[in-house]
């Protein structure tokens, strides 16, 4: 009996701990949503934890279409579309390049495969600041600095290490006989890639899409340095709106803009569920 009681207490302890942690993790999300649904009068007059009395989407509208950074007042919507324009091609190209390179490395044993692989493993850990200045110089020489093509290129370059490692590991796990049989049948490099390997790749492709799209959407540093004022991604615009406001801050608008920026990766995360965790695990393999 005593043992049973002890076990019950332990169960309660486990759930109490998890509940407290859950509250800690959810609190900022709640505060962010609650603040964004209030008017500024209500924000000033109530606690940040208070439930909005008359929820209104006014702050969301302002954040989306007319919040100001300096003299431009067009909200975060510009950044939203810029981020899409950056994210979609960058995700597609970095995955394509990672898949082809990973496939070549695992099955075709190209010359210098060991060197490429070693450099990519190490490169995944190097602080970006080490590469930024030379990249700025080169990209401005060829006229790609502060352009959409330039920022996409930067994302493809720095996505390469993790993408190659992921695809190489995945392809290394496929039976080699499959590849040998295709070779005997006279399949060439691209035949085997497009008709045999790619159809076998959906699991790793899904993980790669989740990883790259959230990563690129959340990027701040590269967007700040390489995108230029016409292509500023949503994260950069958001930071400008919130942290460079002159005069009185509109906290409800700030929080609405923040949620809007978090929305895309959150939706990807919630929709992908366990795949997201697999992506993290795959990304962690590089350790």
């Amino acid at each position: 009996m005593a043992q049973r009681q002890e076990k019950n207490i332990a169960r309660i302890g486990v759930y109490a701990f998890l509940a407290i942690m859950a509250a800690f993790f959810l609190m900022p999300l709640y505060v962010m949503v609650a603040t964004s649904l209030k008017t500024m009068d209500e924000v000033r007059g109530s606690s940040i934890f208070a439930f909005p009395l008359r929820p209104t989407l006014e702050a969301w509208k302002t954040a989306w279409s007319s919040a100001c950074t300096g003299l431009t007042c067009s909200g975060v919507s510009v950044g939203f579309f810029n981020s899409l324009k950056i994210m979609i091609p960058s995700t597609f190209l970095s995955i394509l390049l990672g898949a082809v390179t990973g496939y070549a490395l695992s099955f075709w044993r190209p010359k210098g495969a060991g060197i490429i692989f070693a450099v990519l493993v190490v490169a995944a850990f190097i602080p970006y600041q080490v590469f930024i200045y030379p990249l700025v110089r080169v990209l401005s020489q060829v006229g790609l600095y502060n352009s959409l093509a330039g920022i996409i290129m930067v994302h493809v370059i720095f996505g390469l290490p993790v993408m190659v490692l992921m695809f190489r590991n995945y392809y290394a796990g496929l039976p080699r006989d499959l590849f040998s049989a295709a070779r005997v049948d006279g399949g060439g490099f691209w035949d085997i890639f497009f008709r045999l390997m790619l159809p076998l790749s959906p699991p790793i492709l899904i993980v790669a899409v989740i990883l790259q799209s959230t990563h690129i959407w959340n990027d701040f540093l590269f967007g700040l340095v390489f995108a230029g004022s016409d292509n500023r991604p949503m994260t950069v615009l958001l930071n400008n709106i919130v942290n460079t406001t002159q005069g009185e801050k509109a906290y409800n608008v700030d929080m609405a803009a923040t949620i809007l920026t978090a929305l895309v990766p959150l939706v990807i995360y919630l929709a992908s569920g366990r795949w997201f965790v697999r992506g993290i695990a795959a990304g962690a393999v590089k350790g």
Binding site: I48, L97, L221
Partner: protein, 294 residues
């Protein structure tokens, strides 16, 4: 024979972009950065070498020393708290609980968001005039003080708090995967022997999942050295220089202060820090893996 030759050519062509990136960026740009760090270039590269002058200048510059000191405090606390909290969460999640996937979703969602978002949310929650402090006072705790975000001696802990919120779910996920790999028989055997569960976790399970903990530590360390977005969004380096970090120092000297050589020396020092941190962990992890394999 012709087909074979064509096959090799295609492989070579397919590997070309990777080679260009590896040689041109990952090796070339790194060397270039190092070379510039040995000059006294300000706005554009000028190849008049003064070797390690910039490094000496860096070591004598308060702004740099303060930012390194901040990063050490931040990094040690952030990694420690993340590991402890992540391990506790993973263990609790491993107790065959209900709604496991719900808890997992809640603990991990901050990791899906941008550091900028994390920074701005915590800036708001910790705002002394409106945030937690104001709320506690309005609930009757008139003398409640929680103004760390505006206090130079406390602001660094705010950075830790926000970073832990974002990153500890990741540690939980990695360690939980490790716990799930622990043999069921171990639990049966220790139960028969009447060993307390917490002892099994600390003495037997912890060493088994040590390689995962090492992986998590490497990931966290790398994110510490890279720390930039979170600082810019949450505190902007302030109050004063209380939360300045090396990555921000490098960026400012590159793009605002036109101290390109000094900035690149700073970047090389960041790289050196990563090497110094990651190499022992890498070898320790390999050693542990070898020992585990027998």
């Amino acid at each position: 024979m012709h087909g074979l030759w064509r096959g090799r050519l295609q492989v070579t062509l397919a590997m070309l972009p990777a080679w260009i990136i590896v040689i041109g960026v990952f090796i070339g740009a790194m060397i270039w950065t190092f070379v510039i760090s040995m000059t006294n270039s300000r706005l554009i590269p000028i190849y008049k070498f003064n070797f390690f002058d910039q490094y000496v200048r860096l070591m004598n510059q308060d702004a740099w020393l303060v930012s390194v000191g901040n990063l050490v405090v931040f990094g040690v606390l952030f990694i420690l708290v993340c590991l402890v909290l992540g391990f506790l969460m993973a263990v609790m999640m491993d107790q065959k609980i209900r709604a496991e996937s719900l808890f997992r979703t809640i603990f991990l969602y901050p990791y899906a968001m941008s550091f900028v978002v994390t920074g701005l949310v915590w800036q708001w929650v910790l705002n002394p005039t409106f945030g937690i402090q104001a709320t506690m006072r309005s609930w009757g705790f008139d003398n409640f003080v929680f103004d760390w975000i505006v206090r130079p001696d406390r602001a660094i802990f705010v950075l830790v708090l926000a970073a832990v919120w974002q990153g500890s779910g990741l540690v939980m996920a990695i360690l939980l995967a490790g716990l799930r790999g622990v043999d069921e028989d171990l639990w049966k055997a220790t139960k028969v022997d009447g060993i307390a569960k917490w002892r099994v976790y600390t003495s037997i399970v912890l060493p088994i999942i040590a390689p995962m903990a090492a992986t998590a530590t490497v990931l966290l360390s790398v994110s510490v050295v890279k720390a930039y977005d979170l600082v810019v969004a949450l505190t902007g380096g302030g109050p004063g220089n209380a939360t300045e970090v090396p990555a921000k120092f490098v960026m400012e000297n590159l793009f605002e202060r036109q101290n390109v050589a000094l900035a690149n020396a700073g970047a090389i020092m960041m790289l050196a820090a990563v090497v110094v941190i990651a190499t022992p962990i890498y070898y320790a992890r390999r050693y542990m893996a070898q020992k585990a394999a027998g």
